[in-house]
Amino acid sequence: MTATTTPVPSIVVGEERLSLLSWFAGVDHKIVGALYLVGGLTFFVLGGLEALLIRLQLAQPGARLLTPEQYDQLFTMHGTTMIFLAAVPLLFGFGNYLVPLMLGAPEVAFPRLNALSVWLYLFAGILLNFSFLSAQAPDVGWFAYAPLTERPFSSGPGVDYWAAGMILLGASSIAGALNLATTFLRLRCRGMSLTSAPMFTWMVFVQMVLILGALPALSGAALLLLMDRQLGAHFFDGQYAGAALIWQHLFWFFGHPEVYIVILPVFGMISEIIPVFSRKPLFGFGFLVASGIAIAFLSFLVWAHHMFAAGLSGAELTFFSAASMAIAVPTGVKIFNWLATLWGGTLRLRTPLLFALGFIGMFVIGGLTGVSVAVVPFDWQATDSYYVVGHMHYVLFGGTILGVFAGLYYWFPKVTGRLLGEGLGRVHFWTTLVGMNLAFLPMHWIGLEGMPRRVWTYPNVADWGLWNLVETIGASLIVIGTLVLGVNIARSLRRGAVAGPDPWDAWTLEWSVPSPPPPGNFAAAPAVRSRRPLWDLKHPDRADPPRATGDEGWLARLRPSTLAMFLFIGSEAIFFGSVIVAYIAARPVIEAKAILDVPRTFLFSLFLFSSSATMVLADRAVARRRLWLLATLALGAIFLAGQGSEWLRLLQADRLTPSASLFGSGFFTLTGLHGMHVLVGLVAIGAVTLLTRRPDFARRGRGGLEAVSVYWHFVDAVWVVIFSLVYLWTLFA
């Protein structure tokens, strides 16, 4: 193909030139998506280099290329980087760029919130890696088990960087999830019902729900860890039996859904790519959606399978084993449905499909070894050995990364306007596929032979040296494959074949607009009647059966901002829940009884509770709205003052501090967190009060008021729980 004579538009957004400023200040979902993708790929390379150093150190027994300190930092940052800074952001990138386009929407629901989440992510990524320069990176593993993370065992700043990074990344992910979930629920174009939304958007939606449910547990745990390390609190320092396991419960309550957070959208990508390249509609749409939801639900019930050797009761072992096995069923359904989609098709074996097929072939291995570790007795042998490292890399590399590569080859022309090279793509695919099997397959047997994971070196026993060398060779092949990808990207950006709007003869809406799409995406509202709108357009005589647009009732009547607020308070409930779990586990009641003044706090609580009533009035009344808002502000402020004076009384008399006792740790953390929420609520109410002065409030400010009102009621409801737990409970003890 000859070079085009018309000026080539800037990549990412179809404009003539994207200014440098718009990369920083832009809120277009395509810019945000591209930032996520570029950030994710950059950190993928960084995490890959860390993996290469790890593999070089392990290439032979007893090697001294790295010190154990360096090794521990590298394996911790490899895991942390690949999960939080590469996999999740890459998927957020695809989600941000593609979901509005696939839904026929001009933008995401909250573009500025979206920009906030991408910049929070990039900042957190830089912060985490800055720790290398500040003398010590985190070195306690990405799972950061207590009490190794406590000051006596980890006195350097690494763990603090890690915990702070986790809290920032949690905030970034929650903001992003509110946005994409609301986009999916509310911004589908006319004619696109939930039953005809593309599978990728469905899986992104389920992923977002998982993020909202899981990430807050990590944020809560990381916050408690910081309380321990910075303020001398005692949540995980082993003052009470079970402290160490509370961390594990909180971490894996997040950590296992996290696996599905980084695989579900990939399932979605595969479900888009396979039909287009086998020229057949997706098989079993309903089962695929249902199995995605089933996986999401079950993923919240399986966390303790990471703890089979940690000292669970027999009942716990049985329950978590059963749930972990059960999750294989919906996962199997997906594999079978993809095979059925391929069956009878006309397979165009281009690079996107190659990677998708590689994904199926490799993910099956990770899935089956996953079932094996759900079997408790086998897991007693396998857990914390290299077997698990092998299993997990077949899921995360063979699954997530091969899937991401498939998506990259498939959608790269949409984002940049140019196709990636097919020849280099094949080289990339085969090197990666061979490399990953050499790197990760031998791990299974040397693990079962007794090689533990996370060791910086190992004794020269049996054939461990040989297989570790093979693994290192495999890892090097992956590095070479990734270099080939880099060359491919660089070449395509400069002189790749121009893609045009629809290079793959595909069927979803993103292929109906120019590549890259212009700001606002669609010149005219797209017409959608079925799951394959472009098929209908191209083959009016053989159009797909139309889908009913179904009444989505209450959902459609909610303002997007209110819907997002409901989702947000859902995640906030998990956040408070994780702190409350830690509080209860410490059995604080006896000490609380001796110290707290229940009637006094009850009195101040009444002010807070009555502010919910004034907030309702402010939300409903038009005439005296500002008055009721000010009343709410005043009541909330009185409550806060009451709480503040209680803190002062306890601290000044030196009766209680966060470091004085376990109860002190829990008391100040719980009431402090709630106080901060009240404060944020008061600031928001103040802002809304100011907005009421504007003439266009009725049109532009109502949504804000409603969202703040929902938030305020939630803050009050949380206080009912905390007040009962911390104060009222003492009356019955």
Partner: protein, 299 residues
């Protein structure tokens, strides 16, 4: 799987064999279907139209139910295996296993030793696993699955060794810098040999305070961390050295327990085992030689 030498491990092996047989069947089936589809349905340029079917509810229900049924069987078999593995024997030899950064302490009642666990063949043993600092995990792959040593908690692991020999193991939970050199040696021996060993360990250190090596030990900071029963050395931060020379390795498996390595270890433990908590000692050559020889005499 490593060599199987206990009935507990045999139970693990049995259930695992079944699981892997099923897994391999499924694996072969899926990969075969995938490869068949690739070869059979790839584009050949003959304009063969693709099929258009989009669902088949019966088929889909079938491939939801069938794996579920298989898993129910696996689950039922697993429950039986768990029962057999966890059953605590009545007259077991109880050994307290305490993980430290980065070595193992073994207590047989009042007999304290480190890094080398001795068990009599044919007699059930009940290990009570815990930790003195962070989380560790006790794992000897030829004997049994692993159990974490969690501070403030005790986990019980039943093992009935049926075969004499020496078996290797390691800490399996990441526990800080020297997680890698926290190896375990298990010596399974006949009941008589075991009793002889235990009686030997019970006695105080063979020591005469006039020994120049003993004087070096007892007059330096060695005694703050190490115990020599029968002397003033009663530290507990490091391994009990009363019968140090009876153990085959030092530093929890990092080096053989011979004069040369003992000297290297005392001079700078961190050079052999980077991160080890024992500080370097600057003894004179004579002092060091005396000390090394003395430690070698602590059978």
């Amino acid at each position: 799987m490593p060599q199987v030498t206990t009935p507990q491990l045999q139970s693990i092996l049995d259930i695992s064999t079944f699981v892997f047989a099923v897994a391999i069947l499924i694996f072969v089936g899926v990969e075969a279907a995938l490869l068949y589809a690739i070869f059979r349905f790839r584009e050949r340029g003959d304009d063969r139209p693709a099929a258009r079917f989009v669902s088949n509810q019966r088929l889909e229900i079938a491939w939801t139910i069938a794996p579920l049924a298989v898993l129910v069987v696996v689950f039922a078999l697993m429950l039986g295996a768990m029962q057999r593995i966890s059953a605590a024997p009545a007259d077991a030899l109880v050994v307290r296993v305490i993980g430290h950064q980065w070595w193992w302490e073994f207590r047989y009642g009042d007999v304290v030793t480190a890094n080398e666990l001795h068990l009599p063949v044919g007699k059930p043993a009940l290990l009570e696993i815990t930790s003195a600092d962070v989380i560790h995990s006790f794992w000897v792959p030829s004997l049994a699955g692993k159990r974490d040593g969690v501070p403030t908690q005790i986990q019980r692991l039943a093992i009935t060794p049926m075969q004499e020999g020496t078996f290797g193991g390691a800490c399996a939970e990441f526990c800080g810098q020297e997680h890698a050199w926290m190896l375990i040696t298990v010596v399974v021996e006949s009941a008589d040999q075991f009793q002889t060993w235990l009686d030997g360990q019970r006695g105080p250190a063979t020591t005469s305070t006039s020994d120049p090596g003993a004087q070096v030990f007892l007059s330096s900071t060695c005694i703050n961390c190490h115990t020599l029963r029968g002397t003033s050395a009663s530290g507990t931060a490091g391994p009990d050295l009363t019968h140090f020379a009876s153990r085959a390795t030092l530093g929890a498996g990092v080096a053989p327990n011979d004069d040369a390595h003992r000297a290297m270890w005392i001079r700078d433990a961190g050079a052999l085992k980077p991160g080890a908590l024992m500080p370097p000692f600057a003894f004179s050559e004579t002092q060091l030689a005396d000390l090394v020889r003395y430690l070698g005499s602590l059978k």
